[in-house]
Amino acid sequence: MSPSRQNLHHSLHSTMALPKTSYSVLSAFCTEENISQCIAYINQEVCSLGLTGVSLESKSGSLSAVPVLNLLYEVLQLQRRAQRALHELETQQLKNGSDLEHLQHSNCRLKDQLEHTRRDNSGLHEGERQLQLKIKTLQNWLKSEKEEVQKLQSIISSRATQYNHDTKRKERECTKLKERLNQLLMDKRDKKLSIEISNHVGRSDGKRGLWKTGKMEARHEGEMYKALLSDYETRQRSLMMENSELKKVLQHMKKDMITILSPKKPEPANDSLEQAVSECEEEIGDPSRETLEQSCEQAREQLTNSIRLQWRKLKSHMERLDSQASLVASQEREGEEMMSRKEHEEEMQRMRMELQQCKEFIHMQQQLLQQQLSSPCDEETAALLNDCYTLEEKERLKEEWRLFNEQKRNFERERKNFTEAAIRLGHERKAFEEDRAAWLKTQFLNMTPFVDRKRSALSDSALSVGTEPEAKLQSTPPLVTKSLFSTPKAASVKMPSTADLYRTLHLIPDSRGHGKCQSGEMSTKSRLRNCSTDCSVLSFVRDENSPI
C-alpha cells in the first residue's frame, strides 16, 4: 500500500498545485474493483487525520453520499485550513524575509557607522596624543626658560653684589682720601720725602749710567725688537723642525702605502690600478724635489694631496679585497681558484724576479771570466799579469820569512843568555843556600815555643831534612821552605837542560801550573841578588828539585 500512499501524497500535492489534472489522477486511484480497499484506505487516512470514517454499506456495494460528502467537506475544510495556514506562513515568511533584509541593511549600516566612529576615535586619539606631546614640549621649554631666567637672575645678583662691593670699596677709599686731604691741609709740618744713603752703590752690571738721549731711545727700541725677533726665530725654528719631522713621517707613510699597493699584480681589466702604480712611481721621484723646497706651499700641498690620493686608493683597494673575500665566502670553488691564481701569480712574479737576478749575476760572471781569458794577448804579458796577482803575496811572504829569521836569531841569542844565566844562577844559588842553611841553623838554635808559623815551618823543615813530600809543598806555597835543606843535592855543577831551565824560569807551564811566563833573565837575577824569601824564589828552588 505504501507506494500508492506515496502516490496519493504526491497526487494530493499535485492536486493543490494543479487542480485540473485531479480527475485523471483520482481515476487512477479508485476503480470498480478496489472500491472497498479504497474505502478502507480512505478510512484509515481519515482516522489518522482525526475525522470520522465513512462506513461502507455492503448491501448495495455503494457508498452513501452523505458521509462521503461530509468527509469530503471535512477534508475540504481541512484543506482550506491548511491553505490558510500555508498562506499565513507564506506571509509570515515574506515578512520575516523582509525583516531579515531590513535587519541586514541596518546591520551593514551600523557596521559602517561603527567603522566610521572607530576611525574618528583613532583620529581623535592621535590628535590628543600630539597635543599631549606639544604640552610636554611646551612644559620643557617653559622649564628651561625658567631655569635660564633663574640663572640670569643669579648672574645679575652676583654681578650686583660684586658691583656693590666694588663701589663700597671705592667709597671707602674716597673717604680715606678725603680724610687724608683734610689732615694734610690742617697739618702744618709737611714731611718731605727724602732718601738718606750712606754712600752710592755701584750699578749691578758695573757699567756707568748713560744720559737719556734719542740714541738711547733708538737703542731701546732696537733691543726690544731684537728680543721679539729672536723669540720668533726660535719658535719658527722649532716649528720648522716639527714640520720637517711630520713631513718625513708623511713621506714614509706614502712610501709604505705605495709598496702596499704596487706588488699586487692587477688584472688586465683593472687599468686604474696600473695607472696608480705608474703614478706612484712618478711620484717617488718627487720626494727629492720636495726636500729641497721645504717651505714651498706647492710642495706641501702636493705632498698632502698625494698622501690623500694614496690613502683613497688604499681604501678602495681594501674595499675591493673585502668584496673579493666576501665573494670567496659565497663561491667556494671559484674563490679557491681565484686565490690560488693570485698566489700563483705572485709566485710567478717572484720567480721571474729571481730568474732575472740570477741571469744578471751569471752574465756578470761571464763577463768577468771573458775578461780574464780574453785580455792577455801574448805570453809575456800573461806571465806578467799572473805574476802581478801573486806579487803582493810574495812580498808578504818574504817579509814574513825575514821576520821569522830575525826571531830565530833572537831566540838563539836569548837561549844562550839563559843558559849562561842559569849557570850563574846555579852558582849563586849554591852560595845563597849555604848562607841560608847557616842562618836557619842559628834560628833553630835560638828557637822559642812562641815562634810564628813561618819559623815553626822553618824549624820543622830544619828537622825534616830530605823528606819533602810534594803534596805538602803544594798546599802551602809561599812560605814553604822545606826544600831549602835539600840544597846540597841541587848544588851540583851539572848544566841543567834547556827544558829544565825554562820550567824553572816558568817559561814553560809545568804540571802545577805556576804560570809565571815572562820572568826574564834580568828579573830573576835581581831577585837572587836581593836574596829575599820571595815565593818566586822559593818556588823556583822547589821546582828545580822536582825533577830530581
Binding site: S158, H165, V201, E221
Partner: protein, 451 residues
C-alpha cells in the same frame, strides 16, 4: 727627611736669598740673616719700626725692609753691614715697596696709589710714574729683568706702560681693551704680556712686547670670569682658571683653547689616582696617661696620617659658597705649573680640601689629593716634579709622580704649618707657622712611596 730647629719670625716674613746662601727672617723690628747651611746668624740689623715687608735684591747683596705705617723703607747691605739707606716717603704714605730687577732701584707705591716713586741707589735720583692702577697685579717685571709693565688708569680707561728697567725709559704706552684690568703677567720668554679683566667680564688679552694686540680670548659672557692665570715655564701654555670651576689651557701658537680641565664633584676618570688623607688616631691606654708621658711625648696629641688610594668613582667634598657675598669662594683660585712643564696643580675654591694634579703631556687628570683640612699653600720644587703642600696642621705633604707622603713636623709643641716655600736648589723646604719657621731637608732623589 730631617727637620731643623725652630726660629722665630713675625708677619710670615722669611725669605731665602736668590743665590740660596742666606735665609733672612724678620722678628718684629729686627732683621736676622742666617747662613742657610749652618743656620748660624750671619748678620743682624735693626729697623726703626716693625717690618711689614722684606725682600732680597736680585744679586743677594741687599735686603729691603718696608715699614708701611711710618712710610719708611730701609735697605741693608750684606757686604758692608754698616752701610745704611733710609727712604722716607714723607706724608704721602706707603702702600707697597719692591726691588727693581737690577737690584739698584726701589719702587714705592704711595698711599691711594697716587704714584709710583722710583728711587735709585746708584744716583739718589727719583722718578715718578703717575696713575698706577690698584688691582690684583698691576706691576710685573720680565724674567730677564729688562722690562716692566705697569697698569694705569686714566679717565676711566685702562692703559699699559712698558718701561725699560735700565734707565726707566718709557718704551710703550697703549690703551688696553679691558673694562677693568685686574692683572698682567709677562710670559717667561719675555715676549708676550697676558692681561686679564676683572671677574665681571671674562676677557684675556695677549699683547706683544711692542704693544700690538696679538689675540683676545673670552670663554663665556655674563657669569663671573677669570680668577687666576699662570704661564707654563716654557711659555707654551697659558692656564686660565675661572669661576665656573674650569681651567682652560691656551697654546702659544694660535692663542686658542686646546683643552679645558673640569673639576667635577664625582671623579670617574679611571686613569687618575685619588689619594685620601686618613688620620690614624693613636690608641691611648690608661697606663700611658702619666704626666711624664704627656709632657715629653707629644705624639699623643699629634695624630699620624697616611694616604690611602680611593676606589673610583670617588666623591670630592664640596662646600657650596654663599651666593650673596662678593668674590664667592668658588672657582679656580690657584694654579701652578711644575718646573719641567709637565704637571699643573690646581685648587678649586669650593672643594678647598682637594688639590688636583694634571698631566700636561696627556692633558688629563693625574691625581687628586684629598686632605682633612683646606689646603692653604702648595708649591712646586724648582728643580724636580715634586709638590709640597700644607693645610694648616702639623704636617707637611709631598706629592711626586711616584706617590705621596705625609710627614709630621717633629717639633715640641705644635707647629701649625701655615705656608711653605722651597729653597732654590730644591733640597729643602722652609715651613712657616704663625710665629716660627722650621726647615725641612728633603733628599734630592727621594721617591715618595705613599705610606
Amino acid at each position: 727627611m730631617n727637620f731643623s730647629e725652630v726660629f722665630k719670625q713675625s708677619n710670615q716674613l722669611c725669605k731665602v736669598s736668590p743665590d740660596g746662601k742666606y735665609l733672612a727672617t724678620c722678628v718684629q723690628y729686627r732683621l736676622v740673616v742666617r747662613d742657610f747651611n749652618s743656620l748660624q746668624i750671619a748678620h743682624l740689623y735693626t729697623c726703626l719700626d716693625p717690618v711689614m715687608h722684606m725682600e732680597w735684591s736680585s744679586d743677594s747683596l741687599f735686603i729691603l725692609c718696608a715699614m708701611y705705617k711710618r712710610g719708611l723703607v730701609q735697605v741693608w747691605s750684606l757686604e758692608q753691614p754698616d752701610w745704611h739707606c733710609k727712604i722716607d716717603e714723607g706724608s704721602i704714605g706707603l702702600v707697597s715697596s719692591r726691588w727693581s730687577p737690577d737690584g739698584r732701584h726701589v719702587l714705592n707705591t704711595t698711599e691711594f696709589n697716587l704714584r709710583v716713586t722710583v728711587w735709585s741707589l746708584c744716583t739718589k735720583a727719583v722718578s715718578y710714574i703717575k696713575y698706577p692702577k690698584a688691582c690684583q697685579k698691576g706691576v710685573d717685571f720680565t724674567a730677564d729683568g729688562r722690562y716692566m709693565a705697569l697698569a694705569e688708569r686714566r679717565e676711566c680707561k685702562d692703559y699699559i706702560s712698558v718701561f725699560v728697567c735700565d734707565d726707566w725709559h718709557l718704551l710703550r704706552h697703549f690703551e688696553s681693551e679691558t673694562q677693568d684690568l685686574a692683572g698682567l703677567e709677562w710670559s717667561p720668554n719675555c715676549c708676550v704680556l697676558a692681561v686679564w679683566d676683572n671677574c665681571l667680564e671674562y676677557k684675556l688679552l695677549l699683547y706683544s712686547l711692542d704693544g700690538r694686540l696679538l689675540s683676545s680670548y673670552s670663554a663665556y659672557e655674563w657669569s663671573l670670569g677669570i680668577k687666576s692665570v699662570a704661564w707654563s715655564p716654557s711659555s707654551q701654555f697659558l692656564a686660565v682658571g675661572s669661576y665656573d670651576e674650569k681651567v682652560r689651557i691656551l697654546n702659544h701658537i694660535t692663542w686658542k683653547k686646546i683643552t679645558e680641565f673640569e673639576h667635577p664633584a664625582t671623579i670617574i676618570n679611571t686613569k687618575a689616582v685619588v689619594f685620601k688623607e686618613v688620620e690614624k688616631r693613636p690608641v691611648v691606654g690608661s697606663e700611658d696617661l702619666s704626666i711624664h708621658q704627656l709632657t715629653v711625648d707629644n705624639s699623643l696629641f699629634s695624630t699620624q696620617s697616611k694616604y690611602e688610594i680611593t676606589q673610583l668613582p670617588a666623591q670630592v667634598p664640596v662646600i657650596k659658597p654663599d651666593p650673596d657675598r662678593a668674590n664667592p669662594k668658588i672657582g679656580i683660585s690657584a694654579l701652578a705649573f711644575s718646573a719641567d712643564n709637565r704637571f699643573l696643580a690646581t685648587k678649586n675654591d669650593n672643594m678647598p680640601q682637594s688639590l688636583w694634579v694634571w698631566d700636561m703631556q696627556r692633558l688629563s687628570l693625574l691625581a687628586v689629593l684629598e686632605q682633612t683640612a683646606p689646603v692653604r699653600c702648595f708649591v712646586w720644587d724648582p728643580r724636580r716634579p715634586r709638590l709640597a703642600l700644607c693645610t694648616g696642621n702639623t704636617k707637611v705633604y709631598l706629592w711626586s709622580p711616584a706617590g705621596c707622603v705625609s710627614v709630621n713636623v717633629p717639633v715640641e709643641g705644635s707647629f701649625q704649618v701655615l705656608s711653605l716655600f722651597w729653597h732654590c736648589s730644591g733640597s729643602s723646604l722652609v715651613l712657616l707657622s704663625k710665629e716660627h719657621i722650621c726647615l725641612c731637608y728633603v733628599e734630592a732623589g727621594a721617591s715618595c712611596g705613599h705610606t
